[in-house]
Amino acid sequence: MSLMPSIINGASMGAIYRLIAMGLTLIFGTMRVTNFAHGAMLMLSMITAYSVWAATGINPYLLIVIIGPLMFFVGYATQLFLIRPVLKAESDKNDPIGVLLLTAGFSIVLENLALMIFGADYRMAQTDFSNTVFTFGRTSLSAPRLYGLIITLVVSALLWAFLQCTEPGRQLRATGQDRNTAALMGINSEQTFAVAFGISTALLAVAGLVLLPFYYVTPSVGNVFQTRAFIVVVLGGLGSVPGALVGGIIIGLIETVAAQFMTASVTSVLIYLVFLIVLFVKPSGLFGTPFH
């Protein structure tokens, strides 16, 4: 039995978890807000993408240019009109819990709206390459997973370049490191927060579109990914982008490689076990800075 296909599949799933987790990290890293609506936002972009695909039949990968910017504005507006007022009202509290409740509530609203409009059925975008398989010698790889791996790697690299090399990227990092001092540099932190939120949801659009050809769409699809993304983020270290990179790969690999040897429900147990062991040894996560 060859492990190669499951390693590639694991890397591909891991890359998608990582992309989702990086969005979560971006929001936490700049705003110190944990977004419990992240999974619901993923579901939103998957359903939107599915509907556009079903209506037009355009290749899902091409839809990135439409759904990506669209989700950017959804995120931008969510921050500006939903999160910002609550953050502002709680700015003098030591432990603001309102924003957490808000995002959790928002995810319930989104999920139930989706149930109402989209229905509870499981659907999958059966594209003409959904069942394509590439064979290299004795190993065979599913085409959409391989494409997914490549696209997520490219987008991750673009995000890294954006954060490191551009003016808004630098402003975002500065705001995350010290928002009060960033304001002394003339940085409008509220606008920076909205950009961070927008990018985070645009990343979800990419993840959703990459999943579309081989993963089912349903109003509760976000839950699985949100839990995985939280594990990836905490495993890698809260707010650390390289941490999210490594965390994603670890989880993806455990999931698929272990599935070769045991049943799927046991692999989940294994993921949590590894997660707990890491937290036990290094509570701040693999790449996190220790808490003060």
Partner: protein, 237 residues
């Protein structure tokens, strides 16, 4: 000389805790003004109020004749009121170079980025040597230099320094004060807040003494340095 910054009857504080009471103060274009006082006198609160990090509860702050006390902090920085905060407050995970770049992130100062970088690296060659080093790994003195350099990247109309000598060795303290004088000579107005009263009075033209959130006295620094009360309370004479 014209008044660049005017503070009139300003009260401020943290929530219900009032720290500053009816502060009146002005800074003239081109001078070094110092605000001195003991720990807890309200010096940092004054800095934070001017730069918009704390709201005024009464009074007005005018910059070049326009009220600025209701603007958010980032807009005050855009006007050219630049603060070097107490404790440097560098971006710890960024390199020296990146910290300087973020200083010139405002649109209207980006054009002079290269020119300012060259000037700062020439003024503070240690920063050039450490260009690629992460800010948190610098020594205290280097961090203070970087914080000042970062502020200079913002093209300040008025540079407000909050305790720049805090936690530095005596040798570095005099280096910092020399640097402040160099910056002022190059044409930047300076508002210097210090606990090191003697040094601050030596390099400034005028000074205000803060005590328990009120201006206890003010006047030319050369007179205050000989004032019996100042001598007794701050200079240990």
């Amino acid at each position: 000389m014209s008044k660049l910054l005017e503070i009139e009857g300003v009260c401020s504080g943290y929530g219900d805790v009032k720290v500053l009471h009816d502060i009146n103060l002005y800074v003239e274009e081109g001078e070094i003004l110092s605000v001195v006082g003991a720990n807890g006198a309200g010096k940092t609160t004054l800095m934070r109020t001017i730069s918009g990090q704390l709201p005024t509860t009464a009074g007005e702050i005018r910059f070049m004749g326009e009220a600025v006390n209701h603007l958010p902090a980032y807009k005050i920085a855009e006007r050219g009121i630049i603060q070097v905060p107490e404790g440097r407050r560098l971006f710890p995970y960024m390199t020296v170079h990146e910290n300087l770049l973020i200083g010139s992130t405002m649109k209207h100062v980006r054009a002079s980025r290269e020119k300012n970088l060259q000037y700062i690296y020439q003024l503070l060659p240690r920063l050039k040597e450490r260009e690629r080093q992460v800010a948190s790994t610098l020594s205290g003195g280097e961090q203070q230099m970087l914080a000042i350099g970062r502020a200079l990247m913002e093209n300040p109309r008025i540079l407000m320094l909050d305790e720049p000598s805090l936690g530095l060795s005596p040798l570095l303290v005099s280096t910092v004060f020399e640097l402040v004088q160099t910056i002022a000579k190059a044409g930047t107005t300076v508002l210097l807040v210090e606990q090191n009263v003697k040094q601050a009075l030596k390099i400034s033209s005028r000074a205000y003494v803060l005590e328990n959130g009120v201006v206890a006295m003010n006047g030319p620094s050369s007179e205050l340095i000989d004032n019996p009360y100042v001598k007794k309370a701050f200079l240990g004479l």
